[in-house]
Every structure is written in structure tokens, then in C-alpha cells.
């Protein structure tokens, strides 16, 4: 008699802890099976590699939770880095360079938000357009070439560290904490989830749906720009063709972390797990010298598995 009940309880547990278990298992397997995986150097490299994805995944979580998504972030990362580099080179001011990059990100994000929320154009189309516009702008500003940066102090942002942990990783950790709190503990976070869950009901309950979406997209743009600036600092140059396909990587990580593409569902803990899973798999493949071509296939398969898992979960809840 209790058999189906027990099965349900197990499935329920998997539901709640699913991705964390996968993460733990993956970590153990890699520690044992992949040489050098556990070395301090490798872990540092791994954490640096996921720091960019992590930062942007924070805001992408909000975007997805509100029922939208944003394809333009990869372009914003690149273009903000390039613009910051150009401004720094021209003016000699690090501050102006950073502000320029951030300004570009905020503007791109605001345009996305305005078009999606106020003009009610589909987010896929809108951000597909800005993705290409911003990528193009990056090439125009840089004339298609990497822009070297002369301000040595600027490199500290990406290449310094504290307590043995690189600065970008600290920044990412701070983002996880802050955005996690915003999602769970503030009216804004809860409203975001409500908007994604049922826009009409949210509107009738007095939530300013358009404003929430504009804010989310703007912050998303800002965050992508910031990640781009940190990246430029790490690479000591602005590269117009940096982070191609980055948007898919970030969305994959979020979906892997159980964020629903239809909106209304998502939590920071799982997004972190998703980001780490993607990062570890990537890192292990590098250590194992898996050729890039195969890496694409592997990443795609993981995403597919995650989506199927999500479907299965939902089917089980309905039936």
C-alpha cells in the first residue's frame, strides 16, 4: 500500500534536492576520476571561468522568472568591454571607461525592457535584434580588432585576489547573495515571480508589470556590461568577438538549475548549482583533453537532459 507513496516521497525529495545531488555526485566523480581536478590551481581556474556566467545568471534568473528572456547579453558583454577599453585609451581615465561600459549596458537593457514591456513585443524577437545591433556596435567601435588597454590599475579588477580567491569570484559570490535576497525577501522579487506565473493576475493585484520588466532588463544589461568590464580587465583588452554564444550558456545554466522557461519558478540556490555543473563539466572536459567539437555536443546533451528532467517532473505533478 505504501509503495506508491514511498515512491512519491522519493520523487519529491529528488525534486527538491535534485540538482544539488547531481552537483555533489559530479564533483566527487571528477575529483576521483579526473587528474588534477582537485588541485588548487585548477579550482581557481574553474571558479574564474564560472564567475562571468554566475554574475549574469543572477539577473537572467529574474528575467526568466518574469517569463521573459534575454539573448543580447553576450553582445553586451563584448561591446561593454570594447567601449570601456576605447574610452580608457582615449581619455586615460579608468572611471570614465567603466562608466561608459556600464552606461552602454544599461541603455541596451533599458531599450530591451521598454520594447518588451511597453510596446509588448515578444522578448525573443526584441533581444535577438538588440543582440545583433550591440554586437555590430562592438565591431564598429573597435574597428573589428581587439583594443588593448594601457591602464595597469584597471587589471587589478580581474586579476587580483583576496584570501587566495580571485576578485571576480568574490564579486560573483556577492551577486549570488544580493540577488538571492532580493528574489526571496523583497516585494520586488516576489512580484517578479508573480508576473512570470500569471501576468494578468499580477496586474489585477496592483503590480506594475511594465515597471518590473523594465527594471529587470535594465539591471540585466548593467550586469552583463559589468561582467564584460571584468572580463576585459582579465584579458587586458576589449575583444569585440568575446563571449559568442554566452547567452545560451547562461540560459542553459539557469534551466539546469530548475528555472522554468514559462516563468514564475526559480531559486538562486539551484541556479548556482546549474552554473557550477556547467562549469565543472566544461573544466573536466578540458582536463581530459576532449576536443572542442565534442564539447559542444556534450553541453547540448546536458541541456537536453535537464529539460527532459524538468518535463518529467512537471508531468508527475500533474498526473
Amino acid at each position: 500500500m505504501s509503495n506508491p507513496t514511498a515512491r512519491r516521497a522519493v520523487a519529491d525529495f529528488l525534486d527538491r534536492a535534485g540538482m544539488l545531488l547531481v552537483l555533489a555526485a559530479l564533483f566527487v566523480v571528477c575529483s576521483v576520476g579526473v587528474e588534477n581536478f582537485l588541485s588548487w590551481r585548477n579550482l581557481q581556474g574553474l571558479s574564474l571561468a564560472v564567475s562571468t556566467t554566475g554574475m549574469v545568471a543572477c539577473t537572467m534568473l529574474f528575467c526568466l522568472a518574469a517569463g521573459d528572456f534575454d539573448l543580447s547579453i553576450g553582445s553586451v558583454v563584448a561591446c561593454a568591454g570594447v567601449l570601456a577599453a576605447v574610452v580608457m585609451t582615449r581619455t586615460g581615465s579608468i572611471t570614465l571607461g567603466i562608466l561608459g561600459g556600464l552606461g552602454l549596458g544599461a541603455l541596451a537593457g533599458y531599450v530591451n525592457g521598454f520594447v518588451v514591456a511597453r510596446l509588448r513585443i515578444n522578448a525573443l524577437i526584441t533581444t535577438l535584434a538588440t543582440m545583433q545591433i550591440v554586437r555590430g556596435l562592438g565591431f564598429i567601435i573597435s574597428d573589428g580588432k581587439a583594443v588593448g588597454i594601457g591602464q595597469e590599475n584597471f587589471f587589478l579588477l580581474g586579476n587580483s585576489g583576496f584570501a587566495g580567491i580571485p576578485t571576480p569570484v568574490w564579486i560573483t559570490a556577492a551577486c549570488f547573495t544580493v540577488f538571492g535576497l532580493v528574489l526571496n525577501r523583497t516585494v520586488f522579487g516576489r512580484d517578479t515571480l508573480a508576473v512570470g506565473g500569471n501576468t494578468e493576475a499580477a496586474h489585477l493585484a496592483g503590480i506594475d508589470v511594465a515597471r518590473i520588466k523594465v527594471v529587470i532588463f535594465t539591471v540585466q544589461g548593467l550586469m552583463a556590461a559589468f561582467a564584460g568590464i571584468v572580463l576585459a580587465s582579465r584579458m587586458t583588452s576589449g575583444q569585440p568577438n568575446a563571449s559568442l554564444g554566452f547567452e545560451l550558456e547562461v540560459i542553459s545554466a539557469c534551466v539546469l538549475g530548475g528555472v522554468s522557461l514559462t516563468g514564475g519558478v526559480g531559486s538562486m540556490g539551484f541556479v548556482i548549482a546549474g552554473v557550477l555543473i556547467m562549469g565543472i563539466v566544461q573544466n573536466a572536459m578540458n582536463l581530459l583533453n576532449v576536443a572542442t567539437f565534442y564539447q559542444y555536443v556534450a553541453r547540448g546533451l546536458i541541456l537536453l537532459a535537464a529539460v527532459l528532467f524538468d518535463r518529467w517532473k512537471r508531468r508527475r505533478q500533474v498526473g
Partner: protein, 501 residues
Amino acid sequence: MSAPALSFNGATMEFPGVKALTDVSFHVHAGSIHALVGENGAGKSTLLKILSGAYRPTAGGLALGDRAQGFRDTSAALAAGVAVIYQELHLVPEMSVAENIFLGHLPRRAGLVDRRELAAAARRQLELVGESIDPATKVRKLPLAQRQMVEIAKALTRGARILAFDEPTSSLSDREVRRLFTIIRDLKARGCAILYVSHRLEEIFALCDRITILRDGRHVETAALGNLTRDEVVRRMVGRELSHIHQYAPRPAVGAGLAIKNLTGPGLAAPVSFAAHAGEIFGFFGLVGAGRTELLRLIYGATEKTGGQVLLQGARVDIAKPRDAIAAGIVLCPEDRKKEGIVAVRSVLENINLSARRRTARAGVFINESWEQANARQRIEQLRVRTPSARQLIRHLSGGNQQKVILGRWLSETVKVILLDEPTRGIDVGAKSEIYGIMQDLARAGVCVIVVSSELPEVLGTADRIAVMRQGRIAAVLDRADATEEKLLRLALPVESTPAA
């Protein structure tokens, strides 16, 4: 007597944290209409979902004739001649009526769909349910009542011998209800077994032959309806004496409440004006589609108005969107709670506090967790919401309990005017009288309560004054003392048609 057409044998259904059905057994006979009643969350819909193959019971099961059956999925149930007609219909809105009726087994010629045969066959099926809809019409364009007929036609096409209806009349007008009953009686005459779920006991006594009463997921009684009185049914359903049966008590009007001047907009045929006092319960009666919901939405700013004014306690308020209305102290509990009310993927707690949390947040930013929990607990108790905890996702609640949660959301606000659109739709008898009590308490506290209802006893039993709407305008406003069922109905009927007997 021959073997029953359908029997439930110890049907049990457990969800995490909830035992929805415990060992339910009873028989349904061919050529009989069998009522299934119980409070919100008693397990009626769950039982129907087991019947339709949507759920598999955790123990026990059902038998058709003398053969035990367990349906793997809904198509297996359909193939065995079982059709369940849910309240949210399962038609494909973008497809034509004919395609929907024959979905999954379209007539073919040489591998292609035979359009002509399809239309002709669909027309024949629609005639069986007395409908003359053009089979090429997209389902999306049909009113709910006709969609229901399409769904029934579809079931008959598959040769269904057992039909179950889950609250089929809750959004139908009186006339549509009569149509539906004619068809159900016709199905009975043809020897089908019918299982009929409803909270409207009058309907059940008018239509059904036998009744099964569920309480807390358990079988209480199955009997011939002739052997039970209404009160006995209610008592067995709720398992206690109803704490207070709502009784109208006069209240003094305490001043200006909500006044509407020359309001115009979509759904209204002429400018609408009326004034409801603070402390008054002001009812709106009318047939489905008379413009009542549209009027409330215009007042609330959910639809953009094209002209007119809203005055609150004598002062003009500008309402462009719901947010403005809430800020002014006007709230609307919407009619279509699935679409406009619940955020399905969030918890009961979040759904209850969806609006109030903005007011109670610390520094206007941080969720006041303890207040929200206390408020959720209070509303769950007040409205007897059946849920294992406030953290349960609202979509796991029964239909009526979801309604209660949305009502609870609006009771969490301190307001001057509350607009209630069909506040007791889908809600069981016990909670209904609870809600009437709450409306009275609100009015006594000086709130202007405006209630739209299609149920005559509801408006007559609660309202101080009643406005009757007809075809997008207010036909008349009657004092409680002058209002009779007959008068209201006559005023509500479209002018062209003669009043029904």
C-alpha cells in the same frame, strides 16, 4: 438489478501530504443520473480524474460492468466509453468545431482528411445535442455553453456510455442550464450512466436520481435522492451543524460610498451611473453577458474606460489601472479566477498576500514574513481553505479552495469599496454562508460592498439594493423590499424575447 455500469472499489488517492480519497466505493447504474457532492476539497474532482485516467489511484480502483479497469491515460478511458467533461474544457481553441469533435480519428480518404465528410459528420453529432453551430467555426469563438455542447458531442462520437460532469453549470446562464439538463436527461433515456458534480443542491434535486456524498475524501452515503431532504444532504456533507446560516439583517447606510457617473467603455451599451452607499451591500443581477463583469472591470481600471467618473466618498478619483484603484481603497475579486486570480506555480501564502504585501513590507521593500504568515493563517481559517499548509502550491488545491484563497487575498486589504464578481462560484454550501456573513461584517464596518451574481437567491438574500443589468445597461435599481425573483428575471431578460414561463 443488472451489474452496475460503473463501480468504484476502494478507490484511494494520496498526494504528498494529502490523502484526497480514502477507500471510496459505490455504484453508478446505467440509465441513471448520479449526483456526487461534498465540500470543497472532498475529493470529487480527484475521483473523476481517476475515472478519466488522468490519475492512477494509489490503491483500489474501478470497474465497468463487472470488469475491473485501470486506465493508463485519458485515451484509454475514452476508448472504453468513459468521458469526463471538466469545467475547464479540453478543446483545442484554434481548431474548428468539427476537428475538435473528431480529434484523433478524423475521417480520411486516401490518407487525407475528408473535409466534406468531416463537416457532415460533425453536423450530425451536433444535432444529437441540439446544436446548430457551423462545424467550421473556431472553438475559440464560441461562448462557454456552446463549447460544453461541443465537448459532449465529442464524447458521444467516441461512443461514451459513461459521462461525468464536473460543475458544468457554474458559468452558464439559466437558459443554458435548462438546455444542458435536457441533453443530460436525453443521455439518461438512451441508457448512459451519468455522474454529476455540483455545489448547487437545487440542480441536483431537480436532475438526479441518486446521490453519493463524500466528506474529507471518504464515502459517507449513497442513496436514492427521494429518500433525503436538502438539509440531510447538507448535514452529511459538512459533518456538523452549519455554524450560522446567513440571515439578512438591516444596516444603516453610513454616507457616500462609491458613485459612478456616466461611465462608458467596452461592454457597456450606454453610459452607466449609480451610487452605492458606504455600509451598503449593492447587488448586480443579470444574465451571463449582461455587462456586469465589464462594468466592474471598468471601475477598477482593469479595462480602459472611454469616459465617465468614479467618485469615492464624494471625491473624484482617477483610476487608470488596478494599482490606482487599490491605492484609493477599491479592490476587485475577479470572476475568472483561473485566468485573472491565481498564480498557479506559487504557494497559497504568496497568493493570499499578493496584493497586501506591498502595504505591509518593511521599509516598503522587505517582505514582512511574520505578518504574511499570520495573515495567511487567518484567511485559511476564516474561509476554511483545505490545504496541508500555507506553503502548498495553490494549483494542488481543489477548485473551490483556490477560489477561497483569491477571496482571501482581497479580504486581506483594508478597503473602502470591495467589488465581488461571483464571489461564491464553485464554493460549497458551508463556505457560502460564511462568505455572506463576511460581506455583512464588511458592510457593518462601513465598507461599500458591490456584488455581482447570477444566482437569484444570492442577490436577494444579501443585497440592500439590486441593480439589474440587461444588454450592457442598467435596466433598473430596486430596493430590497420591492425585489422578487420574478421582477428581477423579467428585468434581466433581453427586450426582444418574451419572458420565459
